[in-house]
């Protein structure tokens, strides 16, 4: 790469839907390699930039599954804008921990947490119109939009995310070899 002809940098957006931000923390586990990444990548919407809406991007990284109406809107915004959409981590891929409520009735869950729980007095299920409506089930993101690649793990290691991104940006088909491919 010559200094006189600047290459356009790859635009990357990231978000956490029904996730714990653990995958974003793992992203930061790339440590000093983040500086190498920053030479070829520019961040769009992401917790790292605090940009609120996603513009046209090359790569979208989605952490977390889809548990409420806002998640659906954000996910569709990413799919509209990102050429390549990547599910990062167990929750985006199979619903993960939040999906452990899927065999329970949502109404019962809300009653148990906000009304019937020990120590709750004058409880009530929050119904502020600003709050996004919960879906009856938590969905892996590939059940809502088309997904191009999956990086499994809870969370995937910084090494796995680095290997995947450098392959993708370098024009190679991303493939995680055995020690980096982990579901736990």
């Amino acid at each position: 790469m010559s200094d006189s002809i600047p290459m356009p940098r790859v635009r990357v957006a990231t978000t956490s839907l029904a996730g714990c931000f653990g995958c974003h923390m793992s992203f930061l586990d790339m440590d000093e390699r983040l500086l190498d990444l920053a030479k070829v990548v520019e961040f769009d919407r992401s917790p790292l930039t605090d940009i609120k809406h996603c513009g046209p991007c090359d790569i979208g990284l989605i952490e977390g599954g889809v548990c409420n109406a806002e998640n659906v809107h954000v996910l569709r915004e990413f799919r509209r804008n990102c050429k390549t959409l990547v599910a990062v981590g167990a929750c985006a891929i199979n619903g993960g921990l939040p999906a452990q409520r899927n065999h329970l009735d949502l109404g019962d869950c809300l009653q148990q947490v906000y009304v019937k729980r020990d120590g709750v007095e004058d409880g009530g299920v929050p119904d502020d119109p600003e709050l996004p409506l919960l879906l009856d089930r938590v969905h892996p993101i590939h059940e809502v939009v088309r997904v191009d690649y999956f990086i499994p793990g809870c969370p995937p290691s910084g090494d796995a995310i680095w290997t995947f991104l450098t392959d993708l940006i370098g024009g190679r088909t991303p493939r995680l070899p055995h020690p980096l491919l982990h579901f736990d």
């Binding site: 599910a87 167990a90 891929i93 199979n94 619903g95 993960g96 921990l97 999906a99 452990q100 899927n102 065999h103 089930r137 892996p140 590939h142 059940e143 997904v147 690649y149 999956f150 990086i151 499994p152 809870c154 493939r175 995680l176 055995h178 020690p179 491919l181 982990h182 579901f183 736990d184």
Partner: protein
Amino acid sequence: MGGTFLFDGQPVPFEDGQTILQAARAAGRYIPHLCWHPDFPPHGSCKLCIVKVGGRHVSSCALPARDGMEVESNTPEINGERRALLQMLFVEGNHFCPSCEKSGNCQLQALAYELDMSSARFAHFFPDRPVDASHPDVLLDFNRCIFCELCVRASRDVDGKGVFALTDRGIHKHLVVNAESGRLADTDFAVTDRAADICPVGVILRKRVGFAVPIGERKYDRASISTVAMEKGE
């Protein structure tokens, strides 16, 4: 008498009575499998060990080897079909690896690594399958059952107890415990039974040893299942 067949283009010798899978293993060639176990007769239910012989799909755990056979196993086509079978097993149950004590020692998970399965692709069923923690020494987590019947066979044929059974058919098929209450505590099941350590996934779990070996240092964390199977004969 025996003979030789071609396995992925390489000659593999066999003795009379050996199945394709047995002969291939003896020659150091791994064929993926879940319901097959070296100590038990073939069951032929998981279909992970499918190979192509003369252009037809067969279960290599059950078909006796024959002289001059041409067997295809480690090909993109067959591995793709094996991956699809794994994906269907993953969505039918609740296989949430991060919370599973068996993670790293699980053959279903290890085969998913082996066959490059990065997502379950299909829509998840999220079935409701309550656990049975009644037994003092063993926990049953039915969420992860893949219906290989190894526990059924081990308990019936080795332990002589018949503690486990599969009931119902098709998508409603599920593992049950042979007791009026349906609880493991109300059977003569013991932690020393062969059935207690036969489960290839995380259904039958010994209590109080769950994380004695930490995640990351387990059987399939460092080496692939094909390597482990060929080196240790498991």
